[in-house]
Amino acid sequence: MAEKDLSADVALAVRKWQKKRGALIMILHEIQGRLGYVPREIALELSKQMNVPLARIYEVLTFYNFFELEPPAKYVISGCMGTACYLKGTPGILQEFGRLLGIEVGQTTPDGRFSLTTVRCVGCCGQAPVVLINGEVHSKVSPQDVPHLLAQCKD
């Protein structure tokens, strides 16, 4: 990443929020929204531009589940682990995804195309079980649907 782009990316987010108090989490959301994760160089740059210690930035980054420190896979598959989805079978669906992709929950395929995670309740419990692929919600999923869902993830 070029030095100038780095600074510019961060400067944009910082400028939008700089007059507001406690804006660190919102700025991190902006950065992750744009880049898919929060790279270390950006965190260092942010520390400088916001005059916030790096310690504080990483304390926050590692506390909140939402923030990623590593670049995301091309397709992020999240099984919802809310209570209704859990009861209606998300574990089985995740197992099926894992079997077909050859990875466990929390891992990424070696080619970087797919990662398998869980998310805690997106609030679509009436449509349980729910699976998100890159944020798009698929409802009333069954393990039989998994191959079809994977096939839809074309390059």
């Binding site: 507001k20 939402f66 009861l87 009436g126 409802s139």
Partner: protein, 550 residues
């Protein structure tokens, strides 16, 4: 819309009453969208245009009958208003041709069992027994959530108008106190008292905060209100801010609810343009600015002091109380934090009056409560009922009872902080006191139905696993106690328990309840204690036979 003065509201209402067109409403909450409501909506739009029909195709929020999404409601003159469920793009033609053009209801698509079991406070002043009574979700599914006009036309902002032009802040607080409204986030603390304490506290800056973190897995009441009726939450916050003397407010919404965030942000923009936020609201000298702040995946941030820390841009760890947020909260200033559902109750209370609200529900728990009824039940969805309604009514009459061939084993309320109500106690009225007496709690509104095929030990392990994952880690009892309990539960759910396990669970539970710093740790043992109380035999079965007979 130009900046409104308080007398402009009436004009909007009149204007809407005057125009009566046929309409089709499509439920476009997150559930509906997940089920494909967007395609249905576009198909209806295209279909209506192709047929040259004079009909409004509208987007509304979540009607609540989530099991039957996508939901479409049709109002055509000469035909009774009909709710259709499980609508797919293929059925759109049928609805347009048969219902709209030929004025014939498509009975096989209609879901009257839903429509006939609910009323709203916009239509009736009092609830009917055995039916949902919608106060909080009164507008969800009825209006376009992005239209300020429709909100005002359905009675919105009358409450704020009354407060700003007829009541002093102390009078507003007195009315809320009289109404008996209790915090709907789970604690049930009297809202009027919280407001009064914040008003009386010393501080140059005061804040109102909407707690939209809704972290309980399986609960999505707040999401539906934020998506389906954002203006009611904003109006509620504005009333709260006026009452306590705040000029700045935050809506803390979990990042997993992007649609809710978008709807609220849009509503804030519209409200600002119309002079309902910002300086001199409705021509008065009261001003308020609201901002959205996102959560980032931490259930603990639903706890008040952790929420404050999160808005301040820090790790979401709780602080010891006292001081309570009403005295010292955001950046040290007195802060009033209210749940979404609590806030959405305020416009009806302040426009229809405290006495009306008191007349609904029970003496100690007036009003209604929205529940997310999910799990092993025929008709999962959002249900709003007067407090005091028996649990059985909710689960069997409104919810349709267990799935075919199954029997209900228990109903879990209160999420990871709650407990189970076994099937033989289903006649319990739903109130704060009655649920607490059974070892459970009201909680934020999650209601999970479990049947004979579900393992009690497993669901307990699930809830405990949730608490362990979400523990902030600051205090030892929760951080380590939760983890040690989970290890035991894992062994039990694999049938490898030992007789000492149950005693260890009880001891650690007691320790966590007494010595945890916040509600998460204090209530994490609740599912364990509750299930041990009502389903001891399932735990006994989980102890490895060799060890049990030793």
């Amino acid at each position: 819309m130009a900046k409104l003065q308080k007398d402009d509201l009436e004009g909007i209402i009149q204007r809407h009453r005057g125009s009566s067109r046929d309409w089709i409403a499509v439920g476009m909450g997150s559930c509906g969208l997940a089920a494909g409501a967007d395609a249905v909506y576009r198909a209806l739009e295209d279909g209506a245009r192709e047929r040259g029909l004079e009909i409004d195709v509208r987007r509304t929020g979540c009607l609540g009958a989530c099991h039957a999404e996508p939901l479409v409601e049709v109002q055509v003159e000469g035909v009774p208003k009909t709710l259709y469920g499980h609508v797919s793009a293929e059925w759109v033609d049928l609805i347009l041709d048969s219902h709209v053009q030929l004025k014939r209801v498509v009975s096989r698509l209609a879901v009257p069992e839903i429509a006939e079991r609910l009323t709203t406070c916009n239509d009736r002043e009092q609830p009917e027994p055995g039916r949902q009574y919608k106060i909080v979700t009164r507008n969800c599914g009825a209006i376009d959530p992005e239209s300020l006009e429709e909100y005002i036309a359905s009675g919105g902002y009358q409450a704020l108008r009354r407060c700003l032009s007829e009541l002093t802040p102390d009078q507003v607080i007195a009315e809320v106190e009289r109404s008996g409204l209790r915090g709907r986030g789970g604690a049930g603390f009297p809202t009027g008292v919280k407001w009064r304490l914040t008003r009386e506290a010393q501080g140059a800056e005061k804040f109102v905060v909407c707690n939209g973190d809704e972290g309980d897995p399986g609960a999505y009441m707040d999401r539906s209100v934020l998506e389906g009726d954002p203006f009611s939450v904003i109006e509620g916050m504005t009333i709260a801010a006026y009452a306590i003397g705040a000029s700045e407010g935050f809506l803390y919404i979990r990042a997993e609810y992007p649609l809710a965030v978008a709807r609220i942000e849009s509503a804030i923009r519209s409200a600002k343009l119309a002079g309902l936020l910002g300086k001199n609201i409705l021509g008065s000298d009261f001003s308020l600015n609201l901002e959205v702040r996102l959560g980032a995946g931490a259930f603990v941030c639903g706890e008040e002091t952790a929420l404050i820390a999160s808005i301040e841009g820090k790790r979401g760890t709780p602080r010891p109380r006292p001081p309570y947020p009403s005295v010292s909260g955001l950046w040290g200033g007195p802060t009033c934090i209210n749940n979404v559902e609590t806030l959405a109750n305020l416009p009806p209370i302040l426009s229809k009056g405290a006495e009306w609200f008191r007349s609904i529900g029970t003496e100690k728990s007036p009003g209604t409560k929205v529940f997310a009824l999910t799990g092993k039940v025929r008709r999962p969805g959002l249900v709003e009922i007067p407090m005091g309604t028996p649990l059985r009514t909710v689960v069997e009459e409104i919810g349709g009872g267990p799935l075919p061939g199954r029997k209900i084993k228990a109903v879990q309320t209160g999420g990871p902080s709650g407990g189970v109500i076994p099937a033989n106690l289903l006649d319990t009225p739903v109130t704060y006191e009655d649920l607490a007496a059974l070892g459970s709690m009201m909680g934020s509104g999650g209601m999970i139905v479990m049947d004979d095929q579900d393992s009690i030990v497993d669901i307990t392990r699930f809830y405990l696993g949730f608490c362990v994952e979400e523990s902030c880690g600051k205090c030892a009892p929760c951080r380590i106690g939760g983890r040690q309990m989970l290890t035991i539960l894992e062994r039990l759910s694999e049938g490898r328990g030992t007789p000492e396990d149950l005693e260890q669970l009880r001891q650690i539970s007691k320790t966590m309840q007494a010595a945890s710093l916040c509600g998460l740790g204090k209530s994490a043992p609740n599912p364990v204690l509750s299930t041990l109380r009502y389903f001891p035999e399932e735990y006994e079965r989980a102890i490895a036979p060799a060890k049990a007979n030793a």
